[in-house]
Amino acid sequence: MTQKGLRRVLPSQRVDAIACEHVDRIFESKNRTVQALNDVTITVKKGELFGLLGPNGAGKTTLIKILTTLLLPTSGKAHVYGYDVTRDENKIRPIINMVSGGEYSGYGLLTVRENLWMFSQFYGIPGKEANQRIKTLMERLGIANMGDRKIRTLSTGERQRVSIIRAFMTEPQVVFLDEPTLGLDVETARLIRRFIQEWLEKDSERTVLLTTHYMMEADELCSRIAIINEGKIVALDTPSGLKNMVKKEISLNIEIFPEIKVDWLNNLDGVIGFNSKDAGGNLSLRVVVEHDAAVGEVLAGINQHGGKISYLNKEEPTLEDVFLKLTGRGLE
């Protein structure tokens, strides 16, 4: 496949879009050493929308930086379209692009269209073609009337749409989306999700690696999901496959008043994981337990610790339950 203005060499059709084998990344500074990635092995097929799910600091962005050639792995091998990220960065860069949620690039004095045009030039897209692509994508993402506005005057959601256009206008084969809907309103997030899905559907060779800590987003978009925690991949499957992991477990949503301490759940037999948050003086508790007997013990424990239950609901397992089971803690 060739793109006007920029020669892109794609290797054989059979290679995977992304392949990581035993990737480690260690950050060393004077005071401490942090292992951001620990033996990460994943394979993403062409045409996949692959999700990387994990809490803040789990290593998602580090992995994206390695795959986008901004960071070298400390050990292990990582390939994008068959090219080694350590040696072949010049072959990878023409076929990838990236968006980081919450980070807005460009120059404040330039308009939206000028900023986008500038970035298109870094990929060698002829001016006329670049302008056409920018126009089409701006219309598609609902900011067609904002081309002449200076980028510094845009809202968060509008800026993020510009970032999405910046990444997709170069017609990459693999797009890395690092928390692309972070801090966006529901409507803008939905628009961006729909755009990503449609973009993928147009060409079976296109691939997206998406990191998020929004469970719903991962569940809705991704064909497969890797759960990453403290730099390690702790599970990798389709969303339904992951949810099957906790099918036999029971998920309870409980509202307790007044707010009580629930540390004792850690020592309770049969409790797989729990997540609690303040709900205006009450406590909102989500618990995943192994069997029915444990349900009784949880309810009794609440009673013993002075809590009264105002609401109780048993739910179908979600990705959050999977995460609770695998890491013993909540995602958000």
């Binding site: 120059y107 404040g108 510094r152």
Partner: protein
Amino acid sequence: MAVRSSMWLEYQIEANWTSPVIFILYNTLKPVGGSLLLLAMYYVVTGGFLGGESLYFLYIGNAFYMLVAQTLFNVGWIIHDDREHYQTMKYIYISPLSYFMYLMGRSAMRFLLSLLPLSVLIFLGVFLKIPYHIEVLLLLGTFFLGWIFVISSGLLLSGINMLTARHGNSVGQAFSGIFYLFSGVVFPINVLPGWASKAALGMPSTYWFSLVRRSVLGKEVDSIMSGFTTGEVAVRLIIISVLFFVISYLTFRLADYLARKKGILDMTTTY
């Protein structure tokens, strides 16, 4: 409290990036380089002679100009750095700490830090056989009045920066050039064209540099400035400094108001 914490912040920004030795080197290389430049000019004109009233005049003027230049150099970055680099301006702005006092504190610390290279230059002057005749009390007063004049300039500059874009070069350095040319720093003001000499007499910096020479060399050799007694120079400096401070303060307040009105307190303008 506000001044103290902003002074601390200025010190951290200026000094915590390196070791003390490098910090001292960093603070002295630039002023020493500037002085060597002038000495070389003097050297080529006199055919290798490094002495005489003119040399002492320009050496001392240039050494003390470093207080102005270095302070303004840094103050020139504060607004643009806070607004566009660290993107903390809006947070500092809405905190109980007054932004005005914050700027005062940071420029005060920079002024204090600039005393270090000044001391080095004064020391190096011994090797040039500069006939020091230091009047301690007058020098202390000169420092204080200098500080008022420099922070007023910093305030004026900050006001302008609130409304303008960040450009590549240091605006503070460029701004201090006004004082370098029109205040009799490295040459007597009578060398300037007539209109410029008159304009120089309206600037606080002209009187400040005159006081500097009187307190360090014990005399004034500028033919126009020597027409004033030390007391007259001090009184004029105080009056013009107060006026300058008021003008700078009002300009800053106006710029502050206009920046809020235009909604540009958190703009990014880099290009």
